[in-house]
């Protein structure tokens, strides 16, 4: 199509308001189409990795014989989702207790209230959250405070003498819990 500024039709806006309106709407539509075409890949780039489920993987936290029966100790491991630039932020902690010979329990650090890291107090055998004072008994059930449910656990297994935890997302980012 030839575009000519002197085209009679172009100057006839006043006589032909319907055409004007149509072209204005077309302009908006084409503009929106351009924005969507350019914007969709960007939105996809930002959103797609987020909607993907976290890859769970077994991670070793040390030889089983380093854990004393009855003791609750803090372990930390590199999360499998860490990248070369993640640094110490890629670490995850857990409270691990050896309850029997080959029997281990591992608690998620994050309080079920707002996610602050809970501390283990060995004498009263309580987990205490320093933020809003939630307290959990040694089995992770709620003892006091605003915590709505028990401390979440990691799955634990012992493979060739190594205690292994199954990495997991933060409890509140999971749809399954």
């Amino acid at each position: 199509m030839k575009i000519d500024d002197n085209n009679e039709a172009c100057r006839s806006g006043e006589e032909n308001p319907g055409r004007r309106r149509f072209l204005a709407r077309l302009g908006v539509a084409v503009g929106s189409l351009i924005a969507i075409m350019a914007g969709l890949p960007v939105i996809g780039y930002i959103l797609l990795p987020v909607s993907r489920k976290m890859h769970r993987q077994w991670v070793s936290v040390g030889p089983a014989d380093r854990f004393t029966v009855g003791d609750t100790v803090l372990v930390s491991f590199e999360n499998p989702s860490a990248r070369p630039w993640t640094g110490v932020s890629g670490k995850t902690g857990a409270w691990v207790r050896r309850v029997g010979d080959g029997n281990f329990i591992a608690f998620v650090l994050n309080c079920s209230h707002l996610g602050c890291p809970v501390r283990w107090e060995a004498s009263p055998k309580l987990f205490i959250c320093p933020c809003h004072g939630s307290v959990y008994y040694e089995d992770g059930t709620v003892a006091a405070g605003p915590a709505p449910f028990s401390l979440q656990r990691f799955r634990v297994r012992v493979r060739s003498g190594q205690v292994e935890l199954e990495s997991r997302p933060l409890p509140f980012t999971e749809t399954t819990t």
Partner: protein
Amino acid sequence: MQWLDDRTGLVKLIKSIADHPAAPGVKWKYVFGSAVLTAFLMQVVTGIGLLTTYVPSSGGAYESLQYITDKAPLGAFLRGMHYWGASMMVVLLIIHFLRVFLMGSFKFPRELNWITGVLLMATTLVTAFCGQIVRWDQDAVFGLVVASKMAAHVPLIGTWLAHFIIGGGVVGSYTLSRIFDMHVIVLPTLLASLIGLHVYLVLRNGVSEPPVPGRGVDPATYRSDYHDMLRKEGVPFWPTVVLRDFVFATGVVLVVLLLAWLVGARELGHPPDPSLINAHPRPDWYFWWLFAVLALLPHALENFFMIALPLLIGLVLLSVPLVSNRGERHPARRPLAVAVVVFIFSGIVALTVAGWHENWSPRVNASPLTADIIGASSGPVYEGAMVFNNMGCLFCHTIEGHGGKRGPNLTWIADRLTRDQLTLRIMNGAYNMPVFGRILSTAETENLLDFLSTRKKFGFETGKQQSVVRPSGPLTHAALHASEELAIINSAHP
């Protein structure tokens, strides 16, 4: 000049803005808006400076912050300016906001001035919060965990939203970069656009004239009255009005420089390692009131307070000029408006003070009771005090200045409770106290009771060796019996 104006038209535009008449009587109360702009520009400039050394990666940010703080020439000063600039911007925004509300400046025809202002306030607060996260230390990591946990309370999309904020299931690889993106690109661009719109509206609708009691706003006649008044009594925008803005803005910058120099930025905390447990996330001071609300709210109403209330506040603020865009502007004629401001403002001040004290947090590092306070160095009273020290009682209860403030102060507890009553409380716990009947041995409980029974203002004096009269038998039968009954009730109503 003529050439420039011929090609751009800007010279005439700027001149017409400078020369336009403004309402008379616009004195020092009107300087805060431009001061917010000054603070924003200062944030942009100091931010650009910090960006030349800051590394926006989860693994590199902390070291680069350490470098900026400890080694880079002027680094600590620049961080201080950016930190205090943010505080200053929030404070000035609040003052500006109060001024506009109290003087009824949001009424016709300035409804959209107000609405863009509310959006600016919200965007500023989010930007400030992201700035606290970009200071990527351990408190930032857990601060973000707390924020995303709150976002997870949103119905339907909460989990997804939490996932989106963190950038995955755990804090780590993608977390910092997205918050950084928000803090330095997305939100500042939005802020700049909103500021542009806001300033345009201010120029279009004119600065509101100081309110006069009895002279209300009538949309039918306001504009012509306003323009008549400007023609008759208007003062030139430049220099009469702008000069005050410049003087005040200079003061603002000087105060920020002074604070950056004398006080400096908030200290960098522990490394951003989510597996460390000594975190105690605490926002910067202008969020303490919110921090206090989260701690003190009734926990059954968390969804309401975390999600519905902020939305409600936002909607109420946005609709203020739509609901009331005419009538009296002077605060003396709007007692309800003034009462609302006084009520909310004193509430925020009280909550900020509460946020500073943070009494709801157990003191996990409380210093133990000394022999001097205990009044014994051996025997059941001493042993009982050791139970108090070691079993976590001290985290929440104060005795003579030692310990936390989450639970009641037990300094003179024996004046208030009998031994049986103490037994009941210890054995059964409460909403905010574990059931210590599960935790303490009978001997430990007896010793603890012996110790607590000495906490009397009248009768015993602390600081002396004391002998204790113990009731016969281990834990009196009545108390034990009652505690069993309570335990049954508790288990029936978990």
